[in-house]
């Protein structure tokens, strides 16, 4: 197991290194410089370049960048003069993490509930409603859903704050719902398939013949066994959440890293884009690694096959 984890961590570092390198050279490929004001005198331009380290040869810039990145220093933002990228990211990480965590918890829990209900009441109206819900959750783009929520719930009915991050928990409710739709739909669908499988297995039959009630069967045996594979889709769902947060944070004007990313794209703030790309990658690979290790602990069969590789 330790060998497996070490191998995975090594691979994670290699991936991050490659991603950092690729983003760096992509950014170097971009035409023009951040200082393309024609009125800028040559000596000031040279001074600015020296200040940002852009006068050195590319390989030296690259090594500097990597060295900085290892120490959590991603350079200085072009858009906000003098602001460290690392500071910009860390100061905005809070709302994004809170939203992401809330959406993940709400989405998976409700999804498990909905999927389990659908499986237990298979081929009834409960199943139909749950299926429709899951399909709609997959089909409505989260930014459309967010915009509609904002219009109807916040603007028309005035129940919750329309935007911004100033009313504590209540301003996080609508964005969380908008973000949670995708994980909810995915989990519900996955859970239903698993649970239907489990409910028709021999050990459930045995539990029933022992005289367990439906509730006991579901709570003691079926639920737990069907929940194990759901762990595997947490990784892909984390990706969805990161992507979703970019637009949802934008729509609700939440000061998170998703909103910062979109803002930096529209203003060509390359250091911030690079920093955030690496950040997203890091979070994603770590989430997937944790999920894989967790899964190995829950289900020993996976651990064995992982080591055999």
């Amino acid at each position: 197991m330790i060998k497996y984890i070490l191998r995975r961590v090594g691979f994670l570092i290699l991936t991050l290194f490659l991603v950092a390198s690729i983003t760096f050279f992509l950014m170097k490929l971009l035409p023009g410089t951040p200082f393309n004001n024609p009125k800028l005198p040559a000596d000031q331009l040279a001074q600015l370049k020296a200040q940002y380290g852009l006068d050195k040869p590319v390989w030296q810039q690259y090594l500097n960048y990597l060295w900085g990145a290892v120490h959590g220093d991603f350079g200085t933002s072009y858009q906000f003069t003098g602001q460290k990228v690392s500071y910009l990211i860390s100061s905005r990480l809070g709302p994004s993490l809170q939203l992401g965590a809330q959406a993940m918890v709400v989405g998976t829990l409700l999804g498990i509930l909905l999927g389990a209900l659908a499986a237990i009441r298979k081929n009834t109206w409960v199943d139909a409603v749950a299926t429709i819900f899951a399909i709609l959750g997959r089909s409505i783009p989260n930014f459309v859903f967010a915009a509609l929520l904002q219009y109807f719930v916040a603007f028309k009915w005035g129940v919750l704050p329309v935007a911004l991050w100033e009313d504590g928990f209540s301003s996080s409710v609508l964005p969380t719902i908008a973000l949670a739709m995708a994980p909810l739909a995915n989990t519900a669908r996955f859970m239903r398939t698993e649970m239907v499988d489990v409910l028709s297995s021999d050990y459930i039959e045995l539990a029933r013949s022992k005289g367990d009630s439906q509730w006991q069967v579901v709570a003691r045996h079926a639920l737990r066994n069907s929940m194990i594979p759901v762990v595997t889709i947490i990784g892909p769902m984390a990706v969805d959440l990161m992507i979703g947060s970019m637009v949802v944070e934008n729509i609700f004007a939440i000061p998170g890293i998703g909103e910062q990313f979109v803002k930096s794209i529209t203003t060509n703030d390359y250091p911030v884009i690079m920093g955030l790309t690496i950040m997203y990658c890091f979070m994603l690979t770590v989430v997937i690694l944790i999920v894989d290790i967790l899964y190995g602990f829950i289900d020993p069969r996976i651990r064995l096959s992982g080591e055999a590789n």
Partner: protein, 335 residues
């Protein structure tokens, strides 16, 4: 028991069945794909989705030839006109806003109607939705092509060759997929100029990954089977085996996965245009329409709601059809 005793054994006699009749099979033998089509046709949601998609495709293609109005023609006298369906007085579709007839106020000549209203530049929303849908479908077709050519090709080569080639190709996939694919797309769009070409390049880089993975796993299973061995023994080249023996056996995976790629590609385009790095103005796409609609949401909600309905219906139809196809081609997954 008692009754049976009274029946004499000679009350029974052998029925005469002709030998040919015994061998006769009433139901026609179905091939795998015929069987799948039969199952698909039983799935009402999938059938309705299929016809919905046909209609949407037809309408979008028709917009190449004719649209109700020029989708990019601006007319500042006609800005923000609500929907009006001729002289039919249907609520929400009678050209009134807050009780005022906006058509009369803006002195729109009689006989000029905008079925779904106009946007902030006086452009006809219906025409723009039609053109936008066409772009979304075009992107869907492109993504499908990459899925079929690159994804299937990559998967088969990786799985078939095995060894270091496989290891290398899988590491490449792992690295690409460890970055959220939208981040890859966004980086691509920064290097190239935003536009249809860049979106296509971006899709080319990311969209085929899942397909390649699935196809590789299937190829690994297939390549040890007897029919492949037989083909090898007969001296067929790897390329021939892939084309004649592997691809037909992979067809259900290919069909199902393609159907799941399409909604993702449509979502991609809409997402990119929505955050402002997709298609540049004035091109209409579902994403740009949603973006414009979002800006006017508080006063003219229909500008967001109609494109939203179109994209939701499109995604819904593709998802339902994909589910139906999966259940039809892979009955074990259906339950």
């Amino acid at each position: 028991m008692a009754a049976s005793k009274h029946i004499a054994p000679d009350a029974f006699k052998l029925a005469h069945v002709a030998a040919t009749e015994k061998e006769y099979i009433a139901a026609p033998a179905l091939t795998f794909s015929q069987d799948a089509m039969r199952r698909l046709k039983q799935n009402k949601a999938a059938v309705i989705s299929f016809w919905l998609l046909v209609i949407i495709f037809a309408a979008a293609l028709l917009s190449l030839v004719i649209t109700p109005h020029d989708p990019n023609a601006q007319n500042l006298n006609y800005t923000y006109l609500p929907p009006k369906w001729g002289d039919l007085n249907i609520p929400f579709f009678n050209g009134h806003e807050n009780g005022i007839d906006m058509y009369a106020r803006n002195q729109v000549p009689k006989g000029t109607y905008f079925l779904l209203g106009t946007d902030y530049l006086g452009r006809d929303l219906l025409s723009r939705i039609l053109v936008g849908t066409r772009i979304s479908l075009f992107i869907a077709v492109i993504a499908t092509l990459f899925d079929l050519v690159v994804g299937v090709g990559y998967g088969i080569i990786s799985g078939w060759n095995g060894g270091w080639i496989d290891t290398l190709m899988q590491r490449v996939i792992e690295i690409i997929s460890s970055v959220p694919n939208l981040v890859v797309v966004i980086l691509m769009l920064l290097v190239f100029k935003p536009g249809l070409k860049s979106i296509i390049v971006a899709i080319a880089v990311t969209s085929w990954i899942t397909m390649a993975r699935l196809i590789r796993a299937q190829t690994l299973k297939l390549k040890d089977q007897e029919f492949v061995l037989a083909a090898k023994t007969l001296g067929e080249s790897s390329f021939q085996i892939a084309l004649k023996h592997l691809v037909p056996n992979l067809s259900s995976t290919i069909i199902i996965q393609t159907m799941f790629t399409i909604p993702t590609a449509i979502f991609f385009e809409a997402f990119l245009s929505y955050i402002g790095i997709g298609l540049p103005a004035p091109t209409a796409s579902l994403g740009t329409l949603l973006n414009d609609g979002q800006k006017a949401l508080q006063t003219q909600p229909y500008l967001l709601i109609y494109p939203a309905i179109v994209i939701v219906v499109l995604m819904l139809a593709f998802n339902l059809l994909a589910d139906g196809l999966r259940d039809a081609f892979d009955p074990r997954s259906a339950h």
